[in-house]
Amino acid sequence: MMLTFKEDRSLFPETGKDGKPVIDWESGKFTKIWQGPVHPGMTGNMSLELTIQGDEIMDCVTHVGYLHRGFEKLMERRRFIQCFPICVRVAVPEPDFNEYCLASTIEELGGIEVPEAADWMRTLLLEMSRLQSFLAQMGGQGSSFGLGLIGQWTVWARDLVLDRFEEITGGRVYHMHMPPGGVRSLLPAGFEARMTDTLDKISGVMEEVERVMLNNSVFKTRAIGLGYIDPKWVDEYGITGPNARGAGVPKDVRKDYPYLMYDKLDFDVHVEYESDVFARTKVRYNDILTTIDLIRQIVPRIPKSGEFMADVPNVLHWKIPYGETYKRAECTRGEYGYYTVTDGSGYPRRINVRGPSYTHAVTLMEKMAINLNIADTAGVMSSLHTYPPEIER
């Protein structure tokens, strides 16, 4: 017999005119507790200020914490090239999307055409970034329901991807391989064979993840029906990526607004319709398989030699003419974008980061937490896949 938490938890309290629950502190029925911060690398430095009745959440206020704040302002006070060591820290587990989006806004405003080899390299780096980020999330998703083994497997698999990053870029976490104009280098000798070996190993791990996590009665019992996202919220709150696709909305920047070399690649967008934690996990699982396939398509098409960096103005005093642009990319969590405004000086006038975490972690979490059991909060939070520095950026 399976245990479920399907009973209606929304009988109490009443909601006021503003849609917020009416909390009568005098009644003595409510308790305020804080969940988190727990771990700065995942969602942990973000805290939830919970008002509970028993083990049920009545109200939730999100606090994004003090880790890595104010990136946008830091960048506005630096030369364009100096923004790169900063922008990668906006989303620690996915630095490459920040690099790509910022570089491409600068390239567009500065009139720089990137060599084709660099575009292939960038496509590879972004897919590798998606792969390692998905693997980290998958481990976190399992762990949030007590499946620690999944974390051990996927974090090991992620490390294999970081090994490949290390040999291309010289860095494991912050790669900084996409300066405006191109990339720092092409692939090292023998990379294709090592990447193929890595992908084979990860494919093997994913088969096991499918058996142990997706075909797991405990996981299913807890994840199915949990953390429901109403499809109408997708546009209402700006939900993108797997969170939207798990709700049956096929949003994917790679297909909707193709960039880099994605229009030359063969892949499908995965959609699930149940809109719960389990559906989102399945979308991410299939995305991992797609990403593995995409990397297998990309690597042989990267030129072994030739131009990989455009002739850029001297980065020490590169002034970019007045203008504004928005560039986006599909990261693991949805649409990532940089809105950059230039005023003809050597510094960006305004950089605004559109990270998916803001909409997902703040607006959505505050909505979804209502009537949730405390024990499920971590699972729901994890299924939203958010990175706090991206929120308080």
């Binding site: 290390e166 040999e167 010289g170 142990v212 075909n215 009665s217 103005p313 020490l316």
Partner: protein
């Protein structure tokens, strides 16, 4: 939910029988070959340009003095110190390093209980990774600024071989800004320039399209930008940090670009010199060359009444009478000089001090005297036959050409010398031969071997483009004269120029001789000074090695009212002359104010 969902998770137990993937000794895992680990620096290649410091957004790099490394030409003597409390290992410092000396080893393990250890000078402080060759270094083909010069438009050899039209066409605005963009503003050039011009600053003005500001910066240290922008020996470019991995910046042409764009009529307004308050004191200047003009300019700005006495009929000194017009048009000299004239500086041409006006008169009529009389006498090889009437000094011929006189041109000419003046006369003769005979037959030869000629490489290349023959590495032995006519120059292969003690003492291979056929020989092996105007006060002056008058750092001689500078003190070089004139003007001001 199905039975499969209950049973499948147990398949994880199958992993119990697999080889664990745990790294047994994680401390000994080697990083990838291109890992961005701890910094290394080849301190012998590094020039301390500070570009790494400039780009570091964390301010993790400071340029510091290093024991045993002194500043020298092209090297600030400083080296980068990295603070690992701030470094984020982005490697942008490696990317912009102008000499490619800075890199990162792939070493990443380092334990120390002393926090100070984490601030160190790579390549100087003993670190275990100093000899590690693996790690992050900038890849070929990846540059964050252009390493190639913007091409300068110049007349094609066929267009210039019969005329004296200026051959270098100068930068357009787009070209100048693109070239200026390459500058990393390290300032190594400023340290090397004898006048210490604010080179990064005026290059920045070009980038900002603020040429008026550029002109103001030029005139802070150099009142002859049109002249200097064309024929300066550009030591700044030789030491330019970009020279280490690409083409050096075209600093000279950029300077010319600023001056070329602004008409002389606007100078006074831009430089705010419309109203100069006079101080009632008078200074005489002997010689209207770069040193004299420079001294006159700065003295005039200080309020002195300045009068220049010049033996020739026009100002410019060696720049007018020693440099052909295709390199430096006379109107450009006039532009620089006209502005100096507009400051109230008087000129008295055709007056030889010591003959037409005694130095004693100048002493009486003026409060101080500055002499910058230049090197206007040629030197002879003194080989047999060098006293023939068709053996000329290059400097005399160039002067005659400047005056528009017709020179005694032969169909076959040999020039002895390998410096810039030798190239000037060679190319001048080539043009004149082309005009007169329709063909070129001029050969320049010198002691120095190919590649080590004292002339600028571009001068040698352009001379060859103009069909002159350059045959270096030969020492003149005799000018062959038959029946009163020159037949040629006999030369022997030069084995070495300096002896073991570094003294000029050429040795020849007398078994390897040949004759350059010629009807006329031009000697261009250096210039000498004529300071006969000091004959009456000679005993009061102190002379140093090579017969040069010794002066103080302010260019003041032993006779307090007499200041001396320019080529006769520190030449031959226009920028040294300008710098001397500037310093002497300040010295004169100091001297007169203290009287």
């Amino acid at each position: 939910m199905s039975l499969k969902d209950v049973l499948m998770p147990f398949t994880a137990w199958g992993n119990l029988f697999k080889e664990p993937v745990t790294v047994k000794d994680s401390r000994n895992v080697e990083a990838a070959p291109r890992y961005r680990g701890f910094h290394v620096n080849d301190v012998d290649t590094c020039i301390g340009c500070g570009t790494c410091e400039e780009i570091c957004q964390n301010a993790a790099i400071d340029l510091v003095e290093v024991a045993g490394r002194d500043a020298k030409e092209g090297d600030s003597g400083l080296r980068p110190m990295i603070d690992y409390g701030r470094c984020c290992w982005c490697a942008l410092c490696v990317d912009v390093c102008t000499t490619r000396s800075l890199g990162m080893s792939n070493e990443y393990k380092w334990v120390s209980s002393d926090p100070e250890d984490f601030r160190f000078v790579p390549g100087v402080d003993e670190k275990s990774w100093n000899d590690n060759n693996k790690g992050y270094f900038k890849m070929d083909g990846y540059d964050l600024y252009s390493t190639e010069r913007v091409e300068m438009g110049e007349l094609h050899p066929e267009e210039r071989d019969k005329s004296f039209v200026e051959m270098i066409q100068g930068f357009s605005k787009e070209q100048a800004q693109k070239e200026a963009d390459r500058c990393v503003a390290c300032g190594i050039c400023t340290a090397t320039c004898p006048a210490h011009m604010g080179i990064p600053q005026y290059i920045e003005a070009i980038r900002n399209d603020d040429l008026e500001e550029g002109l103001r910066i030029l005139y802070e240290t150099n009142p002859l930008p049109e002249i200097c922008g064309r024929i300066c020996t550009h030591k700044c470019e030789t030491v330019c940090s970009l020279n280490h991995k690409g083409d050096p910046l075209s600093i000279r042409w950029l300077k010319r670009y600023i001056a070329d764009q602004i008409p002389e009529s606007k100078y006074k307004e831009i430089l705010e010199t419309e109203n100069i308050t006079k101080n009632g004191k008078k200074v005489a200047i002997v010689g209207a060359g770069p040193a004299g003009l420079s001294a006159a300019h700065y003295l005039a700005l200080m309020g002195y009444e300045v009068k220049i006495f010049e033996v020739q009929e026009a100002p410019g000194g060696m720049t007018r009478y020693g440099i052909p017009e295709y390199r430096l048009p006379y109107e450009m000299i006039d532009k620089d000089v006209d502005y100096i004239k507009s400051l109230g500086v008087e000129f008295q041409f055709g007056t030889r001090v010591g003959v037409d006006v005694p130095l004693e008169t100048l002493e009486k009529e003026f409060d101080a005297v500055f002499a910058g009389t230049g090197l206007h006498l040629g030197r002879s090889t003194r080989v047999p036959g060098s006293d023939h009437k068709r053996v000329y000094q290059a400097i005399d011929l160039l002067r005659d050409v400047s005056y528009g006189k017709e020179i005694d041109l032969a169909e076959k000419v040999v020039v002895v010398g390998g410096g810039n003046v030798a190239m000037d006369i060679t190319r001048t003769i080539a043009r004149l031969q082309n005009k007169k005979f329709g063909k070129v037959n001029v050969t320049a030869t010198c002691l120095e071997a190919e590649g080590s000629m004292p002339a600028d490489d571009e001068e040698v290349i352009e001379a060859r483009e103009e069909n002159a023959t350059i045959d270096p590495g030969w020492g003149p032995q005799e000018i062959i004269v038959e029946n009163g006519e020159i037949k040629g120059l006999k030369v022997a292969k030069c084995l070495r120029i300096f002896d073991d003690e570094g003294r000029f003492n050429p040795s020849m291979d007398m078994e390897n001789q040949k004759v350059f056929e010629a009807d006329m020989i031009v000697e261009s092996i250096g210039q000498a000074m004529d300071i006969s105007y000091t004959d009456n006060i000679k005993e009061k002056l102190t002379f140093g090695p090579r017969g040069r008058i010794q002066v103080s750092p302010d260019f003041q001689s032993n006779i307090p009212w007499l200041f001396i500078g320019g080529d006769i003190i520190q030449g031959p070089d226009v920028i040294h002359g300008i710098a001397n004139g500037h310093k002497a003007a300040k010295g004169i001001d100091k001297f007169l104010k203290s009287k």
